[in-house]
Amino acid sequence: MNIAANGIRHLSDGRSLDDLIKRDTREVSLAVMNDAELYEWELQQLFGRCWNLMGHESEIPEPNDYMVRPIGEDELIIARDRKGEIHASLNVCPHRGMRVALGEEGNSPVHKCIYHGWAFRPNGDFVGAPAEKEKMHGTIRDKSELGLKKARVALYGGLIFATWEHDGPSLEDYLGDFRFYLDMLWNRTDRGTEVLGPPQKVLINCNWKSAAEQAAGGDGFHTISLHRWLIDAGLFVNAEDGTPPAMYGVNVSANGHVVRCIPVDMTFARAKGAGKMSLEERLQELPPPGITPELVPQLSKHLSDDQIRLLVEKAPQVGGIFPNVNFLFVYAPQSDGTMLGAMGIHIIVPRGVDKCEFWTWMFAEKDCPEPIKEKMLRNAVQQIGSSGLIEQDDTDTWPHITRSARGAIGRRDLTLKYQATDGENKPEGWPGGGHVFEGFAKDDTQWYWWLAYRDAMLP
């Protein structure tokens, strides 16, 4: 591997990214799913430079609240200071490398390393070492140089992001055209969203990209096979014409981020006839996932008419933020005939070349009535995440791909194919930006995930 001052460019056997990601035929070498060198490259150049999702501000509401969160295999302390500002610093003691915060979350005005007792503020600044008069931090370096290594923090719709690139693009630029779609989910009510508890965490024996190209890449195609039981059981029904449910819609890729706008009547029998309802009727009868009738008046304060129409008629139900975030704002019809929403977000955390963690948070709008929040939490736990009836099949599939990528012939000769496409076809009058693909969910957004991956890996 060539680690030049200006970044890695190819693997030690000479293969470059263009050998691994074949843009002329929309193929990716299977070897990428289990390659130690490529993994190191990803940790440094991709995770080391992207904006990474750390969590949500409602997880650390009080001064001195903190939580420990990953960027690649590095661990950060995300802490709120006395003035309410959020900071991110590497959770590694600059003295001898001990982990500083040992719990997953907590509240403390100082983070004290248990090894020799160096102490740090929530913003990462060095406070001092024990036995102050003995100068146990030495006299060679000034105290101002001995703080925790600091990352750059930015918030979007309450979501906390961090990056090591202090001079790189702003989070707003990183999201770019995707903000139009994100705002419909994270910036649509007066007080925004809140987490419904700490995240679930599970370990999966797969390379992080098996999970990410699907979940963060917006793979809708697998629904028809891997999630087949939802169709066989009659839970997913295309109310309109009997074509495969949850497959038709508008898929968008903007800056490598993805959203799939899927009309509710394309997925659930309960929504039959929705296409003939007026916008007002739909807002009341079939409000967007997570929006209750009480919250409907708030929408127009935060969203444009175009955004409201899209949210109601073709709700952005699933999507991803590059590189490793997947979000779901899905309709959840209940057996009593009512319609609930399930709101969740995942991150895929690399844990070695053939392991990753899959984290899941459940959300609700802060202003959502409390009893509905409770119902939404229970419903979301039943549908997504570790025990979720929708998602348990995904986590059992990815390890097989990482296993496949160990065989010599498979590594050398096999490619992952992203060749199903009708090309870009933005519907007339489509209000948002990005590459827009209307119709059956094909391979486009996942392919754009790989193109974003390629860009992120290049120096």
Binding site: G197, K201, L226, V381, S386, D393, T395, D396
Partner: protein
């Protein structure tokens, strides 16, 4: 963090999925599982026909040709109810012993 929130309806759906479809891929083919239950303590409750039962469990799970077991241990806090001579589970709270579960999904019962 909460990993499971089941009620009668959701458990029936899980059973239906496994029994009546052959595409429940996280359990198709089925895992090889054992549930080893120990340290069972039965407490009387304020109701004659109900008992609080705590127990520890170790669940082993093995899929395909995996060389390792997926393990899960924990504590179950149950409420059992005697109804027409039959003991029925009225409530179960499960404490899992891991923060990051080494089992990628909870497609089995605990």
């Amino acid at each position: 963090m909460m990993h499971l929130f089941e009620n009668h309806e959701s458990m029936m759906l899980r059973i239906f999925r496994i029994e009546d479809t052959n595409v429940a891929w996280s359990e198709e083919p089925a895992s090889r599982t054992r549930r080893l239950i120990t340290n069972v303590i039965v407490h009387k409750t304020e109701r004659e026909s109900e008992y609080d039962v705590t127990s520890y469990f170790l669940v082993t799970r093995n899929r395909f040709e995996q060389h390792e077991y997926q393990l899960m241990s924990g504590k179950r806090m149950d409420r059992w109810r005697l109804e027409n001579g039959e003991l029925k589970l009225a409530r179960r709270i499960i404490d899992l012993d891991m923060s990051v579960l080494s089992m990628p999904n909870l497609a089995i019962f605990f």
